[in-house]
């Protein structure tokens, strides 16, 4: 499964990772190699086999809808690269 440059660029965009032209080429080759190897799964007959999303047979547990935490704004902002007015600060999004 050989990925085209366009495909690699699309994946990088979806993953929000900036790649140089050399990196597009380099990762493209490596990922294509890995995908070639993964192709062998197509040999397996999986008709009528259910998907396994989780190994546990326990269902998702629910809890009462009540507040059990809070008032931790300082903790939440503690590791922020940039913060102001009790919020995370980021480059302008809205014109």
């Amino acid at each position: 499964m050989s990925l085209t440059t366009a495909q690699v660029k699309k994946i990088a965009k979806l993953a929000r990772i900036r790649l140089s032209e050399e990196e597009v080429d380099h990762y493209g080759k490596e990922i294509s190699g890995i995908l070639d190897w993964i192709e062998m799964l197509q040999e397996v007959n999986t008709d009528k086999v259910p998907q396994m999303a989780s190994v546990s047979s326990i269902g998702l547990s629910l809890r009462t809808d009540e507040v059990t935490d809070g008032n931790v704004q300082a903790d939440i902002l503690k590791n922020a690269p940039k913060s102001a007015f009790g919020c995370f600060e980021v480059p302008k999004v809205v014109e």
Partner: protein, 489 residues
């Protein structure tokens, strides 16, 4: 005196502390010396020596008033991906530079409540992606073992290379690791120590920096099987904060060692684990392991796990897919590294931060994951892999109708040289024996069982039924006793 304290097992240290032969303070001090003497291994990336000494004093006081936890007073290492309150936790990635959690992971919280004392955070492959501990932002870890008459530095295995090396070299009495596709079992085998990955759900994942949520599980490194049982008991248990945490009662694992009778135990030998080109010394050790168990009264049963060869590619679709989702949060906004350019957009910030912050292996896996989940490819790859995962899991379920445990080698080779050129797929093949049990969520332990021709450790793996850690420990203890493996410490 100082030297010998680092050679103890958890079990003998607990005994010595109880008898007043030494204090927790002395234990911690001797380990701090040992760590400082062996900086070249690069096993630890953060030291917490001051708080460790204070914790030791507290432990010694508690002991005087009769309060003694399961791991009371014992110095341990903690893999960097566990969020430790007020102690830097970065999963050895540049993108989490300086991240200092304001909360404690459930597993470390339980470990410290049991009286254990953290010496520091151990080195690991970035975001737990790797089998060599050569992708860490903080440099590679060296295996304390070397080949006979050869100065070549060897890998300790990964991703929990730091924890494995630290235990092997006497830099802690036990260490926490994590295992997603083999990251506790494989480095344990390479470093000649015991490495235990429990059943998925046995330990809480709350506060663990996530790699692949349906596979990640905390694990322990120790120098004996009994030690692993004690340490696992201390960190296991249901946690309401982790919805995948199993609501099972934790047995007292440490109690099973009173009786190591395995008469009638059925041990499965899966034929598909005998690979083409497998080194004969690994096969020989595997056969020897079966003999040891047979001598102890077990019955050896040939079994088949027909989808074994599809487990690795299945894992390398599922794990990267889950990783691409779990690592989407590293965007420079709320924590860690932020890279911006003047006049740049938010999107630019995301792209520049992630490009600068992630290493090559992490980028590779995020991109594979993104691809297999993307529109047009989701069915062919991700859904397909989830179906094959069901088949891998069924293979084990069917075999466990005939046997109680399964015996396999842990790795297809002994530790290899740091820097040995390997393409990604060849590297991934290191996990061939450990990945299937991860996909099925089953407990697995690696026990150091012998040596390669060049004098480096080899391990045997025992896989058990879900939540049957007791039988896994019992079987492992029999192998351990028969093997009589002598570690560095």
């Amino acid at each position: 005196m100082t030297n010998s304290l680092t050679k103890l097992t958890i079990s003998s240290a607990l005994d010595g502390l109880a008898k007043g032969e030494f204090t927790s303070r002395e234990l911690v001090e001797s380990h701090i010396s040992a760590i400082e003497k062996h900086r070249d291994l690069n096993a630890y990336i953060v030291d917490t020596f001051d708080s460790a000494l204070k914790a030791a004093n507290d432990s010694d006081s508690r002991r005087k008033s009769g309060k003694i936890g399961l791991m009371e007073g014992l110095p341990v290492g903690v893999k960097d991906l566990f969020c430790t309150k007020d102690v830097r936790s970065t999963s050895c990635s540049h993108i989490l530079d300086g991240f200092t959690p304001t909360y404690e992971s459930t597993v470390t919280s339980k470990l410290f409540s049991s009286g254990a004392i953290m010496l520091g955070k151990t080195n690991m492959d970035e975001f737990a992606m790797g089998s060599t501990n050569t992708t860490s932002h903080y440099g590679s870890v060296k295996n304390p073992w070397k080949r006979k008459g050869d100065a070549t530095e060897l890998v300790p295995g990964g991703s929990s290379g730091g924890s494995a090396a630290a235990v092997a070299a006497g830099l802690c009495l036990g260490a926490l690791g994590s295992d997603t596709g083999g990251s506790v079992r494989q480095p344990a085998a390479f470093c000649g120590v015991v490495g235990m990955k429990p059943t998925y759900g046995m330990c809480s994942r709350w506060g663990m920096i996530a790699f692949a949520s349906s596979l990640d599980q905390a694990g322990v490194f120790t120098r004996s099987v009994k030690d692993a049982a004690i340490m696992l008991e201390a960190i296991s248990g249901h946690d309401a904060k982790d919805s995948t945490s199993a609501p099972v009662e934790i047995p007292q694992f440490s109690k099973i060692f009173a009786d190591l009778n395995i008469k009638g135990l059925k041990v499965g030998i899966p034929k598909e684990y005998r690979q083409d080109g497998m080194p004969s010394e690994i096969d020989t050790l595997w056969k020897q392991g079966a003999e040891w168990l047979k001598d102890a009264g077990a019955k050896i049963v040939d079994i088949s796990l027909p989808h074994t060869k599809y487990a690795l590619p299945t894992y390398y679709i599922i794990a990267p897919a889950e990783a691409s989702a779990n690592l989407a949060r590293y965007d420079g906004v709320r924590y860690g590294l932020r890279v911006e350019e003047k006049g740049g957009s938010l999107d630019d910030m995301y792209e520049l931060t992630r490009s600068a912050g992630f290493g090559a292996e992490v980028k590779r896996r995020i991109m594979i994951g993104t691809y297999v989940l993307s529109a047009g490819y989701y069915d062919a790859y991700y859904k397909k892999a989830q179906r094959v995962r069901t088949l891998v899991s069924r293979d084990f379920a069917q075999s466990f109708e005939k046997v109680d445990v399964i015996l396999t080698p842990t790795t297809p080779s002994p530790a290899f040289a740091i820097g040995e050129k390997m393409d990604p797929v060849t590297m991934y093949l290191n996990d061939v024996f450990t990945v299937p049990a991860s996909l099925a969520g089953l407990p697995g332990i690696s026990v150091p069982a012998g040596f390669s021709a060049q004098g480096t450790p080899l391990g045997l793996q025992i896989i058990g039924k879900a939540f049957d850690e007791e039988t896994v420990f019992k079987t492992a203890a029999v192998v351990e006793r028969a093997a009589g493996f002598k570690g560095i410490v």
